[in-house]
Structures are given as C-alpha cells and as structure tokens.
Symmetry: C2
Subunit: 342 residues, 2 copies
C-alpha cells in the first residue's frame, strides 16, 4: 500500500491520519497497521506515570532533549485525563512540549480516553507501533493520573518509570500503592524540595513491604487474580531479581536526567538478560490479541443481533428476564448464528 | 434454591458468600443472582465519588447514620483503590465505618479492583443487586479515586454525588473535570475550611463551561464517542434540564448532611418525572448485557481455543503474523467452531 510506504518514509501527516483512523476503528487502518508490523520492534517504549503534580511533563521534556542530544528520534504519547464522556482533552499544559514541535526528530501525539474500557491502552499500542515503524527509537508514553487505565497503558511499555515528588500528601500516597508493582524505576522529582529524602524512604519502605509474602509477590508479577486473568498462565514464573532503583531528579533544572536514563538502560539490559523481556513480550502479545478478539466479537454481536439486544433490554426492564439469563441467551444466539455465516 | 430464600430472609453469610462467588465468576452464583433479580428494584443506589482527601468516607458514615435514624436499612459498597496486580486492598481507613459494624441494619462490603477491565463495575452491580434483594433501601457506593474505573462504577448508581473539598490543589482540579459530567449532585465537604466558597465558585464555573456547546453536551450525556459506544443509540436524546446543585457539608461535624440527602431526593424526583430515570435504567441494562456478553465470549474463546491463542502469540513474537491478523483469525475460528456445538 502507498500509505504503508509513506509512513515508513516518515510522512507525518500519513502517520497522524493512521493513528486517528485506528482510534476510530476504521477497518482499513488495521490493514495498514498489519503491514507496518514487520517494521516494528526496534523502539524502546518507556512509560512515565505517577501522581498529578509530580512534574511528569517537565521530566518528559527533559528526557526528549536528552535523547535528541544523543541523536535519537523521539516519539511522545501523552495520555490525557480527559472526560470519558465527551472524549475531549482538558489539560492544556502540553504547551511546555511546544519547543519540540518544530523538531522533525520529535513526534508528539495526545491520546484521550474514549469512553470504552480498554480502548485507551489499545489505541496507545497502535500509536507506539506506528512511531516504532517510522523509526522513532525512543518512545515515551506519559500518563497523567494513576488509575487502572493508566496502568493498562504502561503495560505496553518495556520499562515503566513511576514519578512522585515531595509533599503530594498522604492520601495520594495510598493510591500510589496501586502503581507500586507497575514500577520498574522510581523517580522522585522536585528533589530540591523539602521532603525529598522522606519520599525516597517512603518508597524504600513500600518496596520492602511489597516484597513481603503477604503482598502476594514482587513488583514484577504484573497480573491479578480473576476469572479472565489471561496473564496468569503466561507468567507464572517469578523471575524477579530486579529491585526498582529510586532516582532523584529536578526536572525544572535538568538535574538527574542522565542518571534516570541510565537506570532505564539498566532495566533494559536486565529485561534482555533475565528472559523477563521475552516473557513480557509474550504477555503483551496475548493481551493484545484477546483485547482485539473481545472487541471484534462484541462489535459483531451488536451489529448482527442489535434487535435481540434491544428486546432483551425491554424484557429486563419489564422484569420478564434478568441480565444474567439475557446475556446467556445472547451468547447462544451469537454462536449459533455464526455457524450459518460463509 | 435454598440459597435464594436464605438471602431474601437476610442471611448475611449467605449474601457474603454469593458476592464472593459472583466476584470469582462461579457459574452457580449467576443462577442465584438470576433468581434474586425479581426481588430487586426497590433500593436507591447513590454513588459517592471524588478526589482523595475530600472526606468521602466520613461523609458516607454520616449518610449511613442519617438514613438509620430515618429507620432505613443501608448497604455500603466501598470500592478500594487496591492494586490491580495483587488484588489486595490497601487503605485501612474503613475503620471509621466500624461503629456501624454491629448494626444489623447496615451491610458494608469492600470491593477491590480485580485486574480485568470492567470487572469492578460488574462486581459492583452484582453486589448492589444482592443488597437490593435483601431489602436494603439505601445503597451507597463509595469510590476512592476519580479514574475511569470509578466512573464506570458510578454509572450503576441512580444518583452520583461528586465530593470535593477546599485546597486539594490545581492539578487535581484538572482531573476533576473528568468526572464533572458524572455528577448529579456536587458536595463541597470541609466547608468550614478556607477556600470553600472558592471551590463552590470553581464548580459553578466548570458547570457553566460544560454547558457550552464546545464541550459537546451537558453533564447528562453519560457517554463518549467510539466504535463500541453502546450508549449512543440508547441515549441520543438530551433531556437535561437538571442543573447539579452544589451542597456544602462539614462531615466531621455532621453539618449539611440532611441538605445533601434532600438534594439527592430532589434528583430522584427529577429522574422519575423527566423520564431520565427510565432512560438510564435502559442504558444500565444494555451496558450490563454487553459486558456479560463480552466476558462470556472471550472466556469461551480462551477455554476452547487456548492452544490456538498460544500459537498466535508464538507467531507474533516470531513476526510470522501480527496482532491484527491473529485476532481476525481467532474471531473466525471462534465463530466457525461455534457452529459445530450442540
């Protein structure tokens, strides 16, 4: 396809169009993505997540400059904490990134939550794949919040950096626990502020706690129990000898940037040497297949059995049936109907 | 079934067991839930969400006491910001609720994120359904964060109260925008602190902005664009004449509790009179069916085609295929294989 070669040749407008179409689930977009796939696998994808107020955008800005000085091309995927209802982005502080906007070696793409569960992480995978195919060697995926959506997004990364800062408050501390196990590298930003050493100690304590058996495993166990726990079968071996390092930075003054990159590099080497990198790649592939499968099956059900779904809703409201029986009946219909397709 | 009558008779241990089994997706649990369904529909479900640090737990505690004084039985579903990886709850401050623990008229259930997307909101629906069948008239669903997961959870509620407090910081303000449209009632808690009036003004301004056309609709448009936007078809009429009231409270001193309940009551009347209540019920039923359909179809795919999924993962890692083609092939296999089932 023309579009494929245009993107491989670095055509930014063709790439942006593809990302938009993939986001909108245009079928042709997936043909293009499919054709791009053999050209991917060279980029390093680093997730940057953590509390609001930790200074992630500034840090990402510094990382971009660092990699540019090293001659690398850099892609940035900024995941916005937009409304899941309107689909629009709220934050405007990407303005700080604007100084890279005229640099051909930097590609910045914002992604907004689209309201359908899991949609964000899939869009993120598509976008990083396009950037990878275009030859961007370093891809930074920045999220704004610390919710499950954000954690899903960071699962697409090779290495996840969790950023915090002194003085963000105790309550936020509690939520941070939720992303503790997602962290491959910790970064205490704004390290020139009071409380930086305390923040480092807090993290060290949380890491020590997390390695207690009561927590059910180390940070590398990137999965949870549950009926649909697709990761469990793939990743039952706990190969964790990696202790997430804690790196202090002052992004506003570009302090600690090189050390943070060195920590990310070290994690990359560990991924390669320990075999964990391949395990994670398998898990990512499996999760992506299942996510696409889920979406396809339900799209077909809605498309082909919309009338029955409507009737089920009526019957539930009339209390003639309940959601459990109605869903079972629909599953039977979808599967039975499928047998008559060409 | 014995279990059904035990639960209808108020057997707390039978109810807790059912909730656990539903969470674990034990098939028999769904038979019980199905049998309970005709006995539901009497409870009022109120979602309490908002920023960490806003004092939601204290507020919920006050609401419980208020309803108890009115002679009502109260269920509380506390959605914990637990790790999606370990599945364990982190926060221990439910302790404040302990004074209701010996009250037979109060049932408190904690729900943790289970790692699979959408699982939390489905578990929440199941739990509220059990509480409803048991005759709990007021059900409060408290979430801790403000992420998409939490918003999904509040979609199960008849009325959603978004709680904030003075001095939670500008960055958090930005994220709050994400739940603006989820709010039926706003509550500015800790209203005896400096900045309470400013917080009220901020909310009023955000509400005014949200009603500008540029935001794509009013707060009642509980949906977003996207290929899998199941809500769109159901809810294309914007019936919003409801302007979310902003109620000040000081939960620590039990101030404003009655007024907050009055605001929730008023919203309930509006739901009934405007027809919006029925539209939301339709949307909830539809979303629940589709969520269960999605889960069933993928569970079957994993169960019956696990070997092919494994082979696809191998092929993707070997770059012999890509996730897009692999998923398409799996969809074909699942649907074709289904035709041969009894």
């Amino acid at each position: 396809l023309d579009r494929v070669s245009a993107i491989l040749a670095g055509d930014v407008r063709a790439a942006a169009r593809l990302m938009r179409e993939a986001d909108d689930r245009v079928p042709e977009a997936f043909l293009v993505l499919s054709a791009l796939h053999p050209h991917t696998g060279r980029a390093r994808i680093v997730g940057i997540t953590g509390n609001p107020g930790a200074g992630k955008s500034t840090l990402v800005d510094r990382l971009v400059s660092f990699h540019r000085r090293a001659g690398k091309r850099v892609g940035v995927v900024a995941v916005d904490p937009s409304s899941p209802f309107t689909g629009g982005a709220i934050l405007g502080d990407r303005i700080r990134m604007q100084r890279h906007a005229t640099d051909d070696g930097v590609f910045i793409r914002s992604l907004a939550t689209r309201g359908h569960l899991g949609g964000l992480s899939r869009s993120c995978v598509d976008v990083t794949r396009v950037l990878d195919a275009m030859g961007f060697e370093e891809i930074l995926v920045e999220t704004v919040g610390v919710g499950q959506d954000e954690i899903e997004v960071t699962r697409a990364a090779h290495t996840t950096v969790v950023v915090t800062a002194p003085g963000l408050g105790d309550e936020i501390q509690a939520i941070k626990a939720g992303i503790l196990e997602a962290a491959d590298v910790f970064c205490v930003n704004k390290a020139d502020k009071d409380g930086a050493d305390a923040a480092v100690r807090d993290l060290e304590m949380m890491l020590a706690l997390a390695n207690e058996p009561v927590f059910g495993g180390a940070h590398s166990a990137h999965h949870a129990p549950g009926a649909l726990d697709v990761a469990k079968a793939v990743d039952s071996v706990d190969a964790s000898t990696w202790r997430p390092p804690i790196q202090k930075t002052v992004a506003s003054k570009d302090q600690g940037t090189a050390e943070l990159v060195a920590a990310i590099d070290a994690h990359g080497r560990w991924l390669a040497e320990s075999g964990e990198g391949e395990r994670r790649a398998r898990r990512r592939a499996r999760e992506e297949i299942l996510a696409r499968l889920r979406e396809s099956l339900v799209s077909r059900a809605i498309g082909e059995h919309g009338a029955e779904i409507d009737r089920s809703v009526d019957a539930i409201l009339a209390r003639a049936t309940d959601p459990y029986r109605a869903a079972d009946a629909l599953v039977a219909t979808v599967l039975a109907g499928a047998g008559t397709l060409p």
